[in-house]
Amino acid sequence: MSISSATAPRAQSQSTNLQCLAATMCFVTAIGGALAELVLAWVWFWPSTVETLVVPHLGLPIASVSLDGTTRLMGFLASMVPLGVLLYALHQAYQLFDRYRLGEVFSPEAPVRLRRIGFCMIALGVLRPLTNTALGLILTAHALPGQRILAIAISLDDYMIAAFGGLVLAIGHVMVAAASMADEHSKII
């Protein structure tokens, strides 16, 4: 048996496995994005869900919070800012895995998309505490003077998301650097 006939089925099997995984990831990212959007709309649509889910999460006293339609709409729009960044990251992940699903393992787009995902996650880590601060202000805007709340808190989760973004960004940079150096190396040889 020649080397080519022994390795060709292995390579084909690897590509098939990768394509299955990539198709699953495409499905997960698409469903994940749609679900995140639906859940956010559901939370802000009902005053009771805002009261039970959002207000305790922000650590606000329920007495100083207003839950009328305009406040909830403003809250929804403010929450859409980090969600918009997350949706963009999920879109990039979808595009990345779609290339792999089509069998393009060494696509030059992959590191670019990885870096975009990394930047989005870093932005998300920064936007989450800022959005929570904005939500605190929006929900207590109708309260009496002295009862309005401006709270800024950076949680371990925000840091972890930003660190994950840095990790993905670094992997993207490493891929670009490796590809360009391999290219230079092959030219020298």
Partner: protein, 187 residues
């Protein structure tokens, strides 16, 4: 030194120069994350009063009569959970160590990346199990302890997706390395 060896050494030196600072930043960020997690957890759990107050509020029960032994068991569960987080740091450190040595598209670095992803998944699973376990231990002395129930929070799902993303990326890299290897043998 032969021309090929010299070429490989130059390649690795160039790799370290270009991506070195970023690799060091990621290693430092991971170390800070773990230190922050460990200091926060341990400083919280060593103070019995703080545990009674915060967990009592979180579970909506009165934990003023919490026995010391139950407090210690719950602390041990937290430490076990923290150990898994330590492995996440170890695998990040090793992965970027490979990159610093210029071993980028190699089976070894891919294995570290896959281990990192699966450790992340394990850490999320451990979190999901640790929370109801701690709840059971902290409320075991009560006349009517709440039932055992596993619950997920939105952040758990986000962390799980992040860990699975690394697993998927490792699989892609592994396939890429093997295909490139096959092509080299074919040529």
């Amino acid at each position: 030194m032969s021309i090929t060896q010299h070429g490989v050494a130059a390649y690795q030196a160039a790799a370290t120069r270009r991506i070195g600072p970023m690799c060091h930043v990621i290693r430092a960020a991971a170390a800070i994350w773990f230190a922050w997690t460990a200091i926060r957890s341990i400083s919280h759990w060593v103070t019995l009063g703080a545990v009674k107050n915060s967990w009592g509020r979180y579970l909506n029960v009165d934990l003023s009569g919490l026995p010391f032994s139950h407090h210690m068991v719950a602390f041990a569960i937290t430490l076990a959970n923290l150990t898994i987080a330590a492995f996440v740091l170890v695998f990040i450190w090793r992965l970027f160590g490979h990159y610093l040595r210029g071993s980028i598209f190699s089976i070894e670095s891919v294995a570290q990346m896959r281990a990192l992803g699966w450790t992340g998944v394990t850490a999320v699973a451990a979190d999901l199990i640790a929370r109801p376990l701690i709840k059971s231990v902290l409320t075991a002395h009560l006349a009517s302890p709440p039932p055992f129930a596993v619950w997920a929070e939105p952040n758990d799902i986000l962390h799980l997706v992040m860990a699975l993303f690394i697993v998927a990326l490792a699989h892609v890299f592994k396939t890429g390395v093997e295909i490139a290897d096959d092509h080299r043998q074919f040529i």
